[in-house]
């Protein structure tokens, strides 16, 4: 077997495994874990479009998750509009909001953008937590919203976990495809160039701020879709769960630890960081509250110091080494 065929075989096997997982993983709580894992991978891939490729650090992306969840839910509960359409509406609103936030801040130094997005995210959480009604729409403040049960594809509700699994998997695949495609065309080159050396990029015809705003719009749109997905998966959500610093930060951390600005980084980051944080929370918090966050903090620091380009780098190197090793020893 040559190196290329082995590489291809392994990749096809991986894709097949991922697509057939619900056939063997029948326990719904395990499937739920997998769904949330892909959910994070999808969110981080969306974040990566602006946080990775455009070289800025958005720290308020949970705001767009919230916009997505609330928009589609309000449209469904109050006006009977299918969440599938509400999802798109939420995405459009999130994109518009992202542009409004991005236009003044993306021209400035990176720190302004990071802090402004963070403040916007917090501001939105405070607003939602203090709003019981918005016109005729019920938000229920900190108590959140319950979505009435009515299982059907049209209502984006399923008895089983498996459909959710496939939906988020397809969303992730599309997000990865968009990222991959963008990296090969003009916008990808311009985002990279503008992120790394804005002045040089401008001399080469790149309106850096404009491309960053475009990236922001796409990223916010995609992020909002995940909000609707979460709402339909949980059928109950409240501000603390989908808005606020913790979630915004977690997305950024997964990207940075996985490797920002790369295709595989967000997925690898979610695959590794999510289980670590989940299991350490479950098993360590009973022993010593706070210990899991100390470990999390240590991981952040160590990765940033020793692997600033994320764990995708050594993992890719290891994979290549593995391919070489196996093919050489065989032939």
């Amino acid at each position: 077997m040559t190196r290329d065929t082995l590489d291809r075989t392994l990749k096809i096997l991986a894709v097949l495994t991922v697509f057939t997982l619900p056939l063997w993983v029948t326990n719904p709580s395990y499937l739920q874990i997998l769904i949330l894992l892909f959910w994070y991978a999808y969110l981080t891939t969306s974040w990566n479009l602006v946080g990775g490729w455009a070289g800025v650090l958005p720290l308020g992306h949970s705001a767009y998750i919230g916009i997505g969840a609330y928009t589609s839910t309000i449209l469904a509960v109050n006006y009977g509009i299918s969440p599938w359409f509400g999802m798109i509406a939420g995405g459009v609103i999130a994109a518009i909001v992202g542009v409004i936030i991005g236009v003044p801040t993306l021209k400035l130094r990176g720190a302004y953008f990071a802090l402004s997005t963070m403040a916007f995210g917090e501001g939105l959480r405070v607003f939602v937590e203090n709003t019981d009604r918005l016109g005729s729409c019920v938000l229920n403040g900190p108590r959140g919203i319950c979505i009435p049960l009515s299982n059907s594809f049209w209502n984006f509700q399923f008895m089983d976990k498996a459909p959710y699994y496939y939906i988020i998997l397809i969303m992730l695949a599309i997000a990865l495809f968009i990222t991959w495609h963008m990296s090969r065309i003009r916008i990808g080159y311009y985002l990279n160039a503008g992120g790394e050396e804005p002045e040089a990029a401008q001399a080469l015809g790149v309106n850096v701020a404009k491309y960053k705003v475009i990236a922001m719009a796409i990223s916010c749109f995609m992020t909002a879709l995940a909000g609707t997905f979460y709402a339909q998966l949980a059928l109950y959500f409240y501000p603390k769960a989908i808005l606020g610093l913790d979630l915004s930060f977690e997305i950024a951390f997964i990207a940075l630890i996985g490797g920002r600005g790369t295709l595989a980084g967000p997925v690898l980051g979610a695959l590794i960081l999510r289980p670590v944080s989940e299991f350490s929370r479950i098993y360590l918090s009973s022993v010593l509250p706070g210990l899991h966050l100390v470990i999390y903090g240590l991981i952040l620091i160590l990765v940033m110091i020793f692997q600033p380009r994320g764990i995708q780098e050594p993992l890719t190197r290891f994979y290549k080494w593995f391919l070489d090793k196996v093919t050489v020893s065989r032939g």
Binding site: A111, Y112, G123, V126, G297, L300, M304, P308
Partner: protein, 294 residues
């Protein structure tokens, strides 16, 4: 009328203390071009240090500054030297290394949760000789500890400006803030300068900690409240601007205290965000910020 005047006085006093907290953050940004996300946690450390100094040694909280401020200086100095320097070195050609935000967030998580593990989650409050004491100026009631905090802000700010303008170290710090490369060519050891600037920024949080302890609760995540406030204040005032930090602090303090007379505190919090976003649109670089560096 009286309540409005009272609100202005209260807002200015507490706001100046916020401003002092933001001063450390803006100094660090001005020099090193990084945002210290562990800034609030440094304040938390300062507050615990002050708390235990008062509790164990039985000294006056302001006297505790003699111990707490140098301790926080070294704490900040070492944090920059051990944790942040390696990242800066690896990213030496990047103008504004955002990785530092992540590293300092790691420090934030560690500090808050180690504190939680050691001292537990309970809110601690200490009765000091000036807790709850007031001045009365006609109908006006002025909280003594807040007033002294205001004085501390003025003293520390003036001292900082003097230090930056007239001492050799201060001049080195300003030179390094303008141009990393040029400063190191001129024989300034930039990383030592960074350590000291970071130390000073953190030491200021020691002052804030001692000023807060007579009237504020101490708990492991108290820093988070101040973190977000400080971020808003420095962006409002303009990153790297000393007057911007102080005035931004007073603005936030005024909104909180004036708003408190008309609505619940969560809504005043929201007004702070709205004002913040409004300033961002009208004057994106902040009230005193320039697009260039100081």
């Amino acid at each position: 009328m009286d309540t409005i005047l009272q609100g202005i006085v209260n807002g200015t006093l507490i706001g100046s203390i916020y401003g002092l907290a933001a001063l450390g953050l803006t100094l660090i940004f001005g020099v090193i071009k990084v945002i210290n996300f562990a800034h609030g946690s440094c304040l938390m450390v300062g507050m615990y240090a002050a708390y235990w100094a008062v509790k164990l040694l039985g000294i006056h909280p302001y006297l505790a500054m003699v111990i707490v401020v140098p301790a926080l200086f070294f704490f900040g100095y070492l944090m920059q030297d051990i944790v942040i320097k390696p990242v800066l070195k690896a990213q030496s050609d990047v103008r504004e290394p955002t990785e530092v935000i992540i590293v300092t967030t790691g420090v934030w998580y560690i500090l808050d949760n180690v504190t939680l593990m050691i001292f537990g989650a309970e809110y601690r409050v200490i009765q000091t000789s000036i807790s709850g004491k007031i001045f009365e100026l006609g109908d006006l009631i002025i909280s003594k500890p807040k007033f002294y905090g205001f004085i501390a802000t003025i003293v520390v700010s003036l001292a900082l400006v003097w230090f930056l303008k007239y001492t050799k170290m201060g001049k080195s710090i300003r030179a390094a803030s303008l141009d990393r490369e040029a400063a190191s060519l001129m024989g300034i050891n930039q990383y030592r300068v960074y350590n000291i600037a970071f130390g000073i920024g953190t030491a200021i949080m020691g002052v804030v900690g001692c000023a807060l302890i007579p009237f504020y609760y101490v708990f492991p995540t108290v820093g988070v409240i101040f973190d977000v406030k400080c971020f808003i204040i420095v962006v409002l005032g303009g990153l790297g601007s000393i007057p911007g930090a102080l005035i931004g602090g007073v603005i936030v303090g005024l909104i909180e205290s004036m708003g408190a007379q008309f609505m619940t505190s969560t809504w005043t919090e929201l007004i702070v965000y709205v004002v913040f976003l409004a300033v961002l649109f009208v004057k994106p670089a902040g009230l005193f910020g320039s697009k260039l560096d100081w």
